[in-house]
């Protein structure tokens, strides 16, 4: 079965090609069906592969060679797929959620004129994402890595007539490229150090290198992860990326692509284990991002922006876990996060769909009656993300926090605060959206309707997964085995949790109780007291204003990077290049011309002068030769 792994990326590719070449001529239904079936086929193959792996616990990985790609002396980069526990898990997430989102999109995008184009991009994205996780060496991962970046670019800017969207797309691509450069240099350093970039070769001998090299590699790779997974300081593209259609946000900017950074770090865990310093950086950056994004999420009013900051924050938590060495826990969280965040995004999409494109929660309210399915599923998702006991998010988050506590209580503290903040702003969103009176226009109210089946079906499936998804990673002390931890054992050895059971219970309790308290607080504020977000910026308190404006990070970047770059470029173009560099060249020409018009004056036409010049020449020559 594993041999068929090539089919997994192949189906989306075929779907992409069919839609790409003939999409315009096909009916929308056919186009969407082809795309969805392609992903479904991949999902089925992935499942088969997954079970294949489960059945043969002794063989941990399979390498499937497709063709030889780049060769340069000792550098061999075959186009190879690696099927192991980690990649097969990701395959399932990608194709599974991908499939659901395809289905959802059929409904969501139905009115759009770029329907087939949308599915073309979506299939292409899945293809690249699969390459990313399937590749058996860093460069194939990089191929997928950049490929998904491209698709992200295309999909964010899907409505290409809107300049703001285009800018967001461009920003996403360029910020990702900054990270990619780090990644690329990391890959090169791996090659230079180990003479290969295939996982098998590298990890086998990785311990042979010294720690500083490992640190360098780990940090360079992490720069790549920062870009792709929207960590400080390269996170600003992700909220902007919400410009894309909502299914895109769900698939790419929540469930799959942005978790590529986590996948990469888990994949490269050897280096991080070798380098405590790098791990510390990862943990600190992770927690800082988590907290930072969570605070911003508190005061956002755009339903998708809130979810976007929430994603950034959750990703930060995952990195925090990675930094603490909790690799499988982070993967676990990736998975549960994929469920509930995709759910939330799709739910938000459904809301937006119903509201006729409105995204501001201040214009919503009381939607639970009009959108019962959406409401219910989203509510479950919110509970999951808030870490309410029993839901999937609770288990995965708790596992990360437990490991972090062991690693560093300080980081744990901030991580916990983050998750409490998450609960708060998520419930703020829920309360403002679904409870209370409707605050939109009459026309909107009139048109409110539940979304079609194709959209609610994925919501329901994801809601179920969000609720029960935590079961695959139950804490060990419950007597259940942490299935996912064991499953990933061959890929990422996670340090055993040395916390005592009682300690763990205390931590868990703190988290659960905290979450409940925070939710109650949110309830008090937004439900009981009906506090509405302020409309005018001038009414806000300074801190609130600061947070509302996302700490002015975009403005700071603009001021620190874009403006100077433009300014320098302008100076270079206008003055340095034209006036100085070219000026010298032209100056030589002018000088020759000028000199010429001066020197030619020597030719006076007067014989006496000519003779005199000759004589002077003769004098000079004789003087030089005989007297000096």
């Amino acid at each position: 079965m594993v041999k068929l792994i090539g089919l997994v990326p192949l189906f989306p590719l075929i779907g992409f090609l069919i839609n790409g070449f003939f999409g315009k001529k096909m009916s929308k239904g056919l186009s969407g069906a082809i795309a969805s079936i392609a992903i479904l086929a991949s999902f089925i193959v992935s499942l088969l592969v997954f079970f294949d792996l489960l059945e043969h616990p002794d063989t941990t990985s399979h390498v499937v060679s497709i063709f030889s790609w780049i060769n340069s002396d000792t550098l061999h980069i075959p186009f190879e797929f690696l099927v192991d526990h980690l990649s097969s898990l990701f395959l399932l997430i990608i194709t599974g959620i991908g499939f659901l989102i395809h289905i959802y999109s059929i409904g969501y995008m139905h009115e759009d004129e770029g329907f087939s184009r949308f599915f073309t991009y979506l299939n292409l994205f899945v293809f690249f994402m699969l390459l990313l996780v399937l590749g058996n060496n860093y460069l194939i991962m990089f191929v997928g890595w950049e490929g998904v970046g491209l698709c992200s670019y295309l999909l964010i800017g899907f409505w290409f007539k809107n300049t703001a969207y285009n800018n967001a797309a461009k920003k996403a691509f360029i910020m990702n490229r900054i990270g990619d450069l780090g990644f690329l240099l990391g890959i090169i350093l791996i090659f230079v150090t180990y003479g290969s970039i295939s996982y098998g070769d590298v990890f086998g001998v990785a311990r042979g290198a010294n720690e500083s090299t490992a640190t360098a590699i780990a940090l360079l790779l992490f720069i790549g992860a920062m870009g792709k997974s929207a960590q400080l300081p390269l996170y600003t593209w992700l909220p902007d990326a919400m410009a894309g259609p909502t299914p895109v946000s769900a698939l790419i900017h929540a469930a799959t692509m942005v978790t590529a950074g986590i996948y990469m770090v888990v994949r490269s865990n050897v280096f991080y284990i070798m380098s405590p310093a790098a791990s510390e950086v990862v943990a600190v950056v992770g927690v800082a991002t988590a907290l930072f994004a969570a605070t911003i999420g508190l005061f956002q009013n755009d339903i998708k922006k809130i979810l976007a900051y929430s994603t950034v924050s959750q990703l930060g938590l995952m990195f925090m876990g990675l930094g603490a060495g909790a690799y499988s826990s982070s993967v676990f969280h990736v998975m549960t996060h994929a469920f509930f965040k995709a759910l939330l995004f799709l739910g938000a999409g459904s809301v937006i769909h119903a509201m006729g494109g409105e995204q501001d929660i201040r214009r919503m309210g009381g939607l639970k009656k009009a959108l019962p399915v959406t409401f219910m599923t989203m509510f479950l998702g919110t509970l999951a993300i808030s870490g309410v006991f029993g839901f999937s998010g609770f288990f995965s988050k708790d596992e990360i926090l437990a490991h972090t506590y062991e690693y560093s209580p300080v980081i744990w503290f901030f991580g916990s605060v983050t998750s409490l903040l998450t609960a708060f702003y998520m419930f703020r969103l829920m309360f403002l959206t679904f409870w209370g009176g409707f605050r939109g226009t009459h026309e909107q109210e009139h048109h409110l309707h539940e979304s079609p089946k194709s959209m609610t079906f994925p919501l329901v499936v994801l809601a179920i997964l969000s609720v029960v998804g935590g079961l695959i990673g139950l804490p060990e002390f419950w007597g259940a085995k942490n299935w996912i931890g064991e499953f990933l054992e061959p890929v990422a050895t996670q340090p055993l949790n040395m916390l005592g059971h009682d300690q763990e219970i205390i931590l868990m309790s703190i988290a659960s109780v905290g979450a409940i308290v925070v939710i109650y607080f949110a309830y008090m504020v937004y439900r009981k007291n009906n506090v509405l977000p302020l409309e005018k910026e001038s009414d806000m308190k300074p801190f609130q204003k600061l947070v509302y404006n996302k700490y002015y990070v975009d403005e700071v970047y603009d001021f620190l990077i874009r403006k100077p770059l433009d300014f320098i470029s302008d100076i270079l173009s206008r003055y340095v290049d034209k006036k100085m560099v070219d000026g010298v060249v032209n100056g030589v020409g002018t000088a020759v011309d000028g000199l010429s018009s001066v020197v030619r004056l020597l030719q006076t036409g007067n014989i006496s002068f000519y003779i005199l010049s000759m004589v002077v020449g003769i004098i000079a020559i004789l003087f030089y030769t005989f007297i000096k």
């Binding site: 005199l612 003769i618 004098i619 003087f623 005989f626 007297i627």
Partner: protein, 170 residues
């Protein structure tokens, strides 16, 4: 006389005169006078030739230069009616510059022409190389080719002068 031989006296006087007349050629304003001074210079040079035992050459020199070439000059000057003192002169500056250039040229030439003492002095006094017979031998034996080819030169000059001098016939 003052330790100099007659030849040395003669050399001195002739040289002095030659230089003086030469200078007069350059500095006299009237072209006719210039011509006359040049003729005098040529006579002095002829004197030198005699001193150097080049008798035949001295005669030829007088005949060709004083007798033919200078007369030609005179004719032309008179033809053009340039016999006047008021001909345009160079500015003082250019004259000074010319003089300075000349002085410098003299200076470097003197510097360049040192070292003639090394020349081995050969027998002097009884040589008869300057006699017609000797010259003829050399001219028609060693210098036969140049002699012949000189005719081409003279032909060319003749044709050229005639062609230039002839009035254009339309």
């Amino acid at each position: 006389m003052l330790g100099y031989t007659i030849t040395q006296w003669l050399f001195g006087i002739l040289s002095f005169l030659a230089i003086m007349f030469a200078l007069m050629v350059v500095f006299t304003r009237n072209p006719i006078n210039s011509v006359l001074y040049l003729v005098l210079t040529f006579f002095c040079i002829a004197g030198h030739y005699l001193l150097l035992n080049a008798q035949f050459l001295a005669v030829v020199h007088i005949v060709v230069y004083a007798g033919a070439i200078m007369v030609l000059f005179l004719f032309v000057i008179m033809l053009m009616n340039l016999n006047q003192d008021t001909e345009p002169q160079k500015t003082v500056i250019s004259k000074v510059v010319a003089a300075i250039a000349g002085g410098l040229l003299l200076f470097v030439m003197v510097g360049a022409l040192r070292g003639s003492e090394q020349l081995q002095i050969k027998q002097y006094g009884h040589s008869d190389i300057g006699l017609v017979k000797n010259l003829g031998n050399v001219l028609f034996h060693d210098f036969l080719f140049p002699f012949e080819i000189a005719s081409v030169l003279l032909l060319a000059a003749m044709v050229g002068a005639i062609m230039i001098g002839k009035k254009e016939i339309k």
